[in-house]
Symmetry: C2
């Protein structure tokens, strides 16, 4: 049996272009004991994949030249030699960009499509949703009445953080980079206030004005000067989950800034770096809460679905042109 | 009844001198319901008192001119109009430098002199010991086999941190500012290694060489470039209790340094500022553990005891001349 796969043909320089991808037909081997054959249903495209195209060490291993791109995939079992999966099961895994995939039972998990659509397991019930959930609920531990500031607020993680914080009874201020995003945060996702950092002359003062009682939780997706402005307003016993530092990702020398330790010390502040996989054993708890809130209409979720396996490269490149609203996903058919 | 007190006669400029103190005789009033009369036994002199002599806002209120100096005092109840204290009880409180003191029952706590000498409640079982205990055990949570680095290691807190970390089965590296201190840490307090930051050309490399598996816990008493050097060697899932930032206390502008958030993020590191009073409700637990370790000879403790209430100013000034080894205390008689 043959199937189609998409491999990395060359490493991109700067913004990736179509010529770094190559479609190939490959022959699939026999399925061994403990393996299943899958048909891909939904493929996740994510900004972090750009980093994996570089030949550098990071927390995610880099893609190999001439090997398939891989990422979050929701798939259906079409043949099983595993006792844990049967034909028709819908599963989730970090899998290669192939239309049909043979995989060990160890590398997939069953998902429950009765509580949410299958594609949600790549977004609100997947990495971005779980990142927001564990960073906020397990590190920051919000209490009703507290003030929460979220940077990168219009991103896939940020919008979920803000909405969960509202569910917990907090006052929520988002920071994002366009008036369109600011309006979306307030009108669509229920943020109390939002700051356009590109048009606000003094972010520190803007936050002080919007947070008269100080910032109790700062969910940090960006770092840099935006974080300096928030930390200058940090409250006693505040918590700062470090989720992303996108402002520093492209710098080659160590970036300098104000030393923050004295502020953290004198105000008894917690700062905690994390990646979602630290909480892997607790994913079922996170998925259950997120799914419940989605069901109750308390947690809004938007996804952009592109149709056709052959559209995967286009969809990934589209991320860097801002072609998506919310989570970008490719449906196989 | 009259008693003697020591008041702040003038605010010092730079290093304090004897002329900022004044001895006075004052008449004590009647004892009211809920109050006790105390006779001071041991008076603590501490470096932080210098800060309280300035007329600036800090976490501890400043001393008032013509009012008594105040600090940690261990005293005996000589008369009681409180149901909670009886004559002969030994108590601890933040109290004025008076030979006899009338105080509300709310401002003192009974101490148990059967588990340790009374003076220990100003040191190893008091602020410095409890600061070490809660910062290490409740924030850093050491596991056997981990590597612990302590800055300000020869200070009243640092020597206790290092010893508790050894009790927990950790490898302990201290950073201090003289060869004498380095030798003391290794020979007297059981540190595995120690670095003299004044004579070590590249502290980052020195730590890398002494911590081949990285730094799992960094107990930070100093901040600044020493901390930069340690954090450059920080391990995945490390914990950094922020206890002091003495290197920045005298700076007037915000000190700049390398941004640490990317390191904390990519290695899932915890940083937590604290002061010991955050753990007030748990003090009995801390005192019990510290006292047990002292009793078992696992926790060494040195104090310099100066005799005579009238020696209090001299003893405090002596701190700044390095006249003490370990905790400096004045015994009333």
């Amino acid at each position: 049996m043959t199937t189609t796969q998409i491999v990395l043909a060359a490493r991109p320089k700067g913004t990736p272009t179509m010529d770094i991808f190559r479609f190939e037909n490959v022959e699939l081997p026999e399925i061994n004991e403990g393996e299943v054959l899958l048909k891909g249903l939904y493929y996740s495209v994510d900004p972090y994949m750009r980093g994996r195209m570089n030949d550098v060490k990071s927390y995610a291993a880099c893609f190999q030249i001439d090997a398939p791109i891989a990422g979050g995939v929701v798939a259906r079992v079409t043949e099983s030699k595993s006792e844990n999966f049967k034909t028709g099961d819908v599963v989730l895994g970090m899998l290669p960009w192939r239309q049909q995939i043979i995989v060990s039972e160890k590398n997939i998990q069953k998902i429950d499509t009765t509580i949410a659509p299958a594609s949600y397991y790549l977004g609100i019930l997947g990495m971005p949703g779980l990142t927001a959930y564990f960073g906020l609920m397990h590190i920051a531990k919000p209490k009703a009445g507290e003030t929460v500031v979220v940077s990168g607020a219009a991103g896939a993680v940020g919008v979920v953080v803000g909405q969960i914080a509202k569910i917990q009874g907090c006052r929520v201020i988002g920071i994002a980079g366009s008036d369109e995003k600011i309006n979306l945060l307030k009108d669509e996702f229920g943020f109390d206030e939002a700051i356009n950092y590109k048009t606000t002359p003094n972010i520190k003062n803007a936050i002080a004005a919007l947070c008269p009682n100080g910032v109790d939780i700062y969910f940090d997706n960006v770092g840099g000067e935006i974080s300096d402005a928030v930390i200058a307003n940090i409250n006693f016993h505040a918590r700062i989950p470090l989720c992303g530092q996108i402002s520093t990702y492209n710098t080659t020398e160590t970036p300098m800034g104000p030393r923050i330790q004295t502020m953290l010390l004198t105000r008894s502040v917690l700062m905690q770096g994390f990646i979602v996989s630290n909480y892997q054993s607790l994913f079922p708890e996170g998925i259950q809460h997120l799914a419940q809130w989605v069901k109750e209409g308390k947690l809004k979720y938007t996804e952009t679905i592109v149709h056709g396996f052959d559209q995967l490269p286009n969809a990934l490149l589209g991320l860097f042109k801002g072609e998506n609203t919310g989570k970008m996903i490719v449906e196989a058919e």
